[in-house]
């Protein structure tokens, strides 16, 4: 997959996963995001970098929030953004995924932003485009099943970099429903690549995948232990659909054991930051007073998310055919 998403000279062709992305490329994305963050503070929030490019948002799984952030990022780069509401389009009439992609490629798309419930769908689409010789089109994974959500991982890393500057001395706790989270995998890959020495993952046994310790992280089933002296707390969303299944016994019990409360937060360093990818379940994985408290950086994460997505778009556009080395 690494081979698919990088050009032979090491530039970003597609963004499918954070696994295998070189640290230098991550830092390049962060530096560009710094500049795009400045663009977003102007009265005219727009630069002409992607003028004339067509970005297609293909959301096979609904996520208004994520779609909107990609839409804003593309618009601020002056790209034309086309949103496809897949539920009411041809796929509902039985057209296959790859037929849809071929049709959009014929409409001279430059980039596809893809959200799909099936893990691997963006990779399959990128491979298909290569087979069809549509090598000018870039694919950006906006979340595929339980597999990956690379831009969320990047914006989380950017947030940590913003508040903590360096990665190489940090202790980071990832807490909650890791099993169903595509964010957690992307985060663990990126944290490791950036040299974070202490990555702790905590959650109930039913919500932690078994292969976790192979990723070089410390796994614990005790929240207090996970939070002890950490610099960064990354809370995961408890997926609504899991709340009534056999994964947890009750929402109240989940909050009791795994919810981040002000008392629990005291176990972390006094200047620890609290992150959450949103949307939050207040009173479930996170107490309102923590979510709205001084250590919360949840809303800055949203702002940074736009700048980071702009940076990714810019790098993808940068490998247009004919681009000089």
């Amino acid at each position: 997959m690494t081979r698919l998403q990088l050009t032979p000279d090491g530039r970003l062709k597609h963004l499918l996963t954070l696994e295998g992305l070189p640290e230098t490329l991550l830092h390049r994305i962060f530096e560009l995001a710094d500049s795009f963050l400045e663009v977003s503070t102007r009265s005219v929030k727009k630069v002409p970098l992607l003028r004339g490019k067509s970005v297609f948002n293909l959301f096979f799984e609904n996520s208004t929030r994520t779609r909107t952030t990609f839409e804003i990022a593309a618009a601020r780069l002056s790209a034309d953004v086309i949103n496809l509401n897949i539920a009411t389009s041809s796929t509902a009439k039985g057209e296959s995924l790859l037929d849809t992609v071929d049709n959009l490629a014929a409409m001279m798309a430059d980039m596809f932003v893809i959200r799909h419930a099936a893990a691997g769908a963006p990779v399959r689409i990128a491979q298909h485009l290569a087979e069809r010789g549509q090598t000018h089109i870039s694919v950006l994974n906006a979340g595929d099943g339980r597999h990956a959500h690379p831009t969320q991982g990047l914006l989380d890393m950017y947030t940590i970099r913003h508040y903590k500057r360096e990665f190489t001395h940090l202790s980071v706790a990832i807490v909650g429903d890791v099993l169903h989270s595509r964010v957690a995998r992307s985060e663990i890959s990126a944290l490791s690549a950036l040299g974070v020495p202490d990555i702790r993952v905590a959650g109930p046994k039913t919500l932690l995948p078994k292969e976790l310790s192979a990723l070089g992280v410390t796994v614990t089933h005790d929240l207090d232990e996970a939070l002890d002296g950490v610099d960064v707390i990354m809370m995961l969303r408890l997926q609504n659909e899991r709340m009534h299944g056999s994964f947890i016994s009750s929402v109240a019990e989940y909050h009791e054991c795994w919810g981040l409360t002000p008392e629990r937060l005291k176990r972390a360093k006094p200047n620890a930051i609290v992150m959450h990818p949103g949307p939050m379940n207040r009173g479930v994985e996170i107490a309102s007073s923590v979510a709205d408290g001084p250590q919360s950086v949840i809303l800055p994460q949203v702002t940074f998310g736009i700048a980071v997505r702009m940076a990714v778009f810019a790098l993808l556009a940068d490998v247009a055919p004919g681009a000089a080395a």
């Binding site: 710094d34 002409p48 790098l315 681009a323 080395a325």
Partner: protein, 173 residues
């Protein structure tokens, strides 16, 4: 191509800076702000700013996102810096500063970026060298040296800043 075969001699950057500064001292009071183009122009602007005792606000533009040749040249290889204009562009008389005027495309990009912040009352351009080879109707108002004949295209001429903040040219081909 060796430097010895150059059809012209480029004056030392420090010498040109002193000349530019002299011209600038005569006119700076008719401006409201200085804006340097990253990187060479930003260094020049910084030094002019210091040499007038910081009397005008100083801004910096990185025009990487405004270039018209992304598909041909790719995104800037240098680390892109956030632009910073700590004054109101609307209605301001701005002196835009770059090290070398060549095709005019960088200045075009800088003008577009400036206008995204507001409508300046006036923009003038100061450079150390006009190397010839313009592709757009853009000219420098302050310019201590114009290459005649133009510096041939294979040469790259860039300002560099020494440890002690003085300037020197880097010429490569």
């Amino acid at each position: 191509m060796s430097l010895a075969s150059l059809p012209l001699q480029i004056p030392p950057a420090e010498e040109l800076y002193i000349q530019l500064r002299t011209a600038f001292f005569a006119v700076w009071e008719s401006y409201d702000a200085l804006v340097g183009i990253h990187t060479g122009g930003a260094w020049l602007a910084e030094r002019l700013h210091t040499d007038i005792g910081g009397s005008l606000p100083l801004g910096r533009l990185d025009v990487s996102f405004y270039r018209d040749d992304l598909a041909r040249r790719g995104l800037a290889r240098h680390a892109v810096r956030p632009s910073d204009l700590p004054f109101a562009v609307e209605g301001a008389r701005i002196l835009l500063i770059d090290d070398v005027l060549y095709t005019g495309r960088t200045v075009r990009a800088a003008l577009n970026e400036l206008f995204d912040y507001g409508r300046p009352k006036m923009v003038r351009l100061a450079v150390l060298v006009d190397r010839g080879g313009r592709e757009l109707p853009i000219a420098a108002d302050l310019c201590p040296w114009r290459a005649d004949p133009p510096l041939p295209p294979p040469y790259r001429l860039e300002l560099t800043r020494r440890q002690d903040a003085t300037f020197t040219w880097e010429l490569s081909s």
